[in-house]
């Protein structure tokens, strides 16, 4: 079965932004979930952090790693926070 290809906007912050060398990108991906997409992006950009150390937001709300992605979704991977 052929996987659907989606356009997903990914935004990067802090160390991931610097590692990716950009604030955001639109990726065409066959990944169906934030988890699958992270595996792709990690391979492409060499992110150090494993998925287990991140949280993920879809469309500006915290989301589960297995949430199905829809065309045009915006995804942010959230490294351990350090506010305060």
């Amino acid at each position: 079965m052929k996987k659907t290809v989606l356009e997903i906007e990914v935004r990067y912050f802090a160390g991931m932004r610097e590692r990716a060398g950009r604030d955001s990108e639109v990726v065409e991906t066959a990944a169906g979930t934030p988890a699958e997409l992270y595996a792709e992006l990690r391979a492409r950009h060499g992110f150090a952090l494993e998925q287990a150390h991140l949280r993920v937001a879809v469309n500006d709300a915290f989301a589960k790693w297995e949430t199905p992605l829809s065309p045009g979704d915006s995804v942010v991977y959230i490294p351990p926070v350090a506010g305060g």
């Binding site: 935004r11 802090a14 160390g15 952090l49 490294p79 351990p80 926070v81 350090a82 506010g83 305060g84």
Partner: protein
Amino acid sequence: MFRLRPERLDCSALAQGLGGDPRVGGCVTFAGVVRNHNNGRAVERLEYEAYEVLAVAEGRRIVEEALEKFDVLCVECEHRVGLLEIGETAVWVGAAAAHRRAAFEACQYVIDELKVRVPIWKKEYYTDGGAEWVLCAHCSAAGPHSHPEHVHSA
């Protein structure tokens, strides 16, 4: 209420704003200040970066939770973003209540939760010229919901 601010926090005005209700008997505030050291390295300045939309949403949720959990009349929190020098205030939390115990509890709740939940990151610029995004080894090892007191700032 929770806000992000690119300019200096006005702690005096924030503290004064807490006491407006005549039922207030006690105000507790916490100010997190940029320290000149962290994990044994001399720090020259800090940069805070926020995922703004979600940081504000999560910050407001935490303030709402504090208002529900504790018998308080007012809870306020502001967090700085951008470049900060040593001694500048990175975060300010204030809680006002009829009785002090609730004000202490609400203030501590907000800063404790903020530090583990709100998507704000910190880059340390060291006096030796290096710079690093703070990413606590302990926290990374323990997963995203663990982020105890040993870390980074106050």
